[in-house]
Subunit: 342 residues, 2 copies
C-alpha cells in the first residue's frame, strides 16, 4: 500500500468563472493501522464523483449548503474499498460508498451514521453508486416521482438529458408510460439519448441559438405540449419550455448549471406560471433521505436487469479532477463524470 | 322600470395600454315579462365588479380563459335584484350574485347551474359578495390556505395589500397567527393596511423605486425572512421578495398586474427557487369551485362579525366603468373597485 495520500484542496474562490488555479494538489502521509482510532476505517477510493453542485460550494455566498472551506479537501462522493479497519462491521476489502472528497484515500469515522455505506457489487458496478444508483439517480427519482408525478401518456421533458441525472429521469419516465423528450448539447448526445436511452425525441440546443428556433424545435418534439419538466439548466432553455407547458404542468427545479458561473439568468416571462397554472418546486435531494430506500430499490433493480442504461466519462488520476470538473460545468462530459483513482 | 338597458361593449383590443377607446356605450331595449322564456329572470344590477383579470381577457392571446369577444358586453361579476322572473325559485326582489357583465340589466337562464346565486344580505352587505365574500375573497382564501398553508408564527407577505384580494389574505393570515406584511403603493394605503386591517407592517413600494432600497425596506419589515408570499403584482416586487424567502417558502401566484399592459416582466434570479427550495404555484380561483363552500363560510362569518374589514372604491354609473377600470390597472383604486349602477 502507498504511504502517501494525494489530495486536492480549494485554495481560492472563483471570481466569475472557476479555473484550475482555484485548486491545489498536495500530498499527506497515510496513517498506519495502529494510528487509527476505534471505529475508524481507511478507504482507498476507486472513483471520485464530479457533480455540478460542487460549483455552488466554491462560492462564499448564500446557498442551500455551507461553502466549501478554503484550504480543505474538496468535498465529493467516492466509492472504494476498505484497506484498514478498526470497526467491527467493516472488513478489509469491503466495497463502500462515502463522501471521501477529492483525494485518493479517506479516513472515516464509520460509527457516524451515514458516513459510509457498504454496497453490493454482485449485480451493480461499483461506479454506479455514484451515478444511476447513487445521488444523481435518487435526485432524478425524487424530482420525477415526487414533484412531477407524471401520468402515463403525459409528456415529460428533461434538460441535460445525457447527464447523470437527466438520463435517469427520462428512463424512469419512459417506464411510467410517458412521452419523453430530452434537451442536450450536440448531435452525438441527442443521438445517444434517443438511440441508447430510448427517449422519444431530443432537441439539440446548440443547433438552436436563437430563442425562436429553439422554441420551434421544442414544439415539434412536444406536439401535445409539456406536462412535466425536470430542470437542470435554466436560462433560455427554461424560457422556451415555459412557453410549451400545458395547464397544470409541474416543474422540478433541480439545477441551474447555466448560471453557476455567476451569469444573470432571468426568467423572461414568469407570468406564464400564472397563465398556465404551473407548479414549480426547487429541491435538494440530500434533504429527502426518506426516499432513498424506495428510490434505490427501483434504480438498483433497473440497473441490475439492464433496464437502466448510463454512460460514464472517466478522467484518469486525481490530478485530472480540476480540469474534468471545469469541463463538466461547460457540458464537455458525456454521461456521469467520474475520476478513476486506481 | 326603465325600458332600456345600457351596456358597455369591447369594440377593439388594446395595442399596449388599454384605453377608453376600446369600449363603447350602447343602448338596448329591455324585454317585458311576456318576452321571457321559462326559467329566465331579468336582474337589475346594483353593483358591477371591476377586477384585474378583465385586462387579460381584452387581449386575443393565449391565456387561461378565452378572450372576451369583440362587440359583446364586457364580462364581469354583478350583484343586483330580480325584477322579472319566469323561474319558480327566484322571486321579484331576490338579491342575487351573477356574471351579468358591464350593463344595467342582465337576462339570465336561471336553470343553468351557477349562472345566478341568491345571497343573504341580512348580515352581509350586497356589495361584499363581489369582494371579501365573493370571488376576490375566495381567491385570497385559496392561495393562502391551499398553497401557502401558513403555520402560526410564520411571516406572510402580500402585494397589492390594500386591494380586494390582498386585504383578505392579510386578515386571514393574521387570524392564523402569522406575522403579516403588506406591500402597497402610497403612504395612505400602507397606513390603512396597518391601522385598519391590522397588518404588522406595510412597505410602500412607491417610496422605494430602487431595488436595493425596496429590499432594505422589506428586510426591515420581515426580520425573520418570508415563509409565504401571495403575489398579485410581479416585477421588481417579486424580485425583492424572492431574496427574502426562507428555505421551503411557498408563493401563491395569483396575479401579475404589473405586466397586464404588455410590459416584459422578467424574474431576475429564478435560481433562488432552487437555492431556497421554494414552491411556486399559479392558480385561478374559478378552477377550484370545491373550496367555495368552506371559504365563503369562513369569509362570511368574519364579515358578519366585523372581523374582516374591507374598503370599496365606488364609481357612479355605468358610463364611468371604463375609466374606473383603467384606474384600477394603475393602482388608483383604494380597496375593491365597484361601479354603482342604481
Amino acid at each position: 500500500m502507498s504511504t502517501v495520500n494525494h489530495q486536492i484542496l480549494l485554495v481560492s474562490r472563483p471570481q466569475g468563472e472557476a479555473s484550475v488555479d482555484n485548486f491545489k494538489l498536495v500530498e499527506q502521509p497515510l496513517p498506519t493501522v495502529n494510528e487509527l482510532a476505534d471505529g475508524q476505517v481507511l478507504v482507498k477510493h476507486n472513483y471520485l464523483s464530479l457533480d455540478p453542485y460542487m460549483r455552488g460550494r466554491m462560492n462564499d455566498s448564500r446557498s442551500y449548503a455551507d461553502p466549501q472551506p478554503l484550504n480543505a479537501v474538496m468535498l465529493g462522493g467516492t466509492v472504494g474499498e476498505v484497506v484498514l479497519s478498526k470497526h467491527p462491521k467493516f472488513a478489509v476489502g469491503d466495497p463502500v460508498l462515502g463522501m471521501g472528497g477529492w483525494q485518493e484515500y479517506s479516513l472515516v469515522d464509520a460509527h457516524v451514521r451515514g458516513a459510509i455505506h457498504k454496497v453490493d457489487t454482485r449485480h451493480i458496478p461499483l461506479s454506479a453508486y455514484l451515478g444511476a444508483v447513487g445521488m444523481p439517480g435518487v435526485t432524478a427519482w425524487y424530482g420525477l416521482v415526487k414533484i412531477i408525478a407524471p401520468k402515463a401518456g403525459e409528456t415529460v421533458v428533461v434538460s441535460a438529458a445525457s447527464g447523470a441525472v437527466g438520463g435517469v429521469v427520462g428512463q424512469l419516465a419512459k417506464a411510467r408510460g410517458c412521452r419523453v423528450v430530452g434537451i442536450a448539447g450536440g448531435a452525438d448526445k441527442c443521438q445517444y439519448v434517443v438511440n441508447e436511452l430510448g427517449f422519444d425525441a431530443c432537441v439539440d440546443y446548440k443547433a438552436h441559438t436563437d430563442p425562436k428556433s429553439l422554441y420551434a424545435a421544442l414544439k415539434e418534439a412536444t406536439p401535445n405540449g409539456i406536462d412535466g419538466y425536470f430542470e437542470n439548466v435554466g436560462g433560455a432553455i427554461l424560457d422556451a419550455v415555459l412557453l410549451r407547458m400545458n395547464a397544470f404542468g409541474r416543474i422540478a427545479m433541480c439545477g441551474m448549471i447555466a448560471g453557476y458561473e455567476g451569469q444573470a439568468l432571468p426568467m423572461q416571462n414568469p407570468a406564464l406560471i400564472l397563465v398556465s397554472r404551473l407548479k414549480i418546486e426547487g429541491f435538494i435531494v440530500s434533504e429527502h433521505p426518506e426516499v432513498w430506500p424506495e428510490a434505490t430499490q427501483e434504480l438498483g433493480a433497473m440497473v441490475a436487469k439492464g433496464q437502466m442504461k448510463f454512460k460514464e466519462s472517466v478522467a484518469e488520476g486525481l490530478a485530472s479532477a480540476p480540469e474534468a470538473f471545469l469541463g463538466l460545468l461547460k457540458g464537455k462530459n458525456f454521461g456521469k463524470q467520474l475520476v478513476k483513482l486506481s
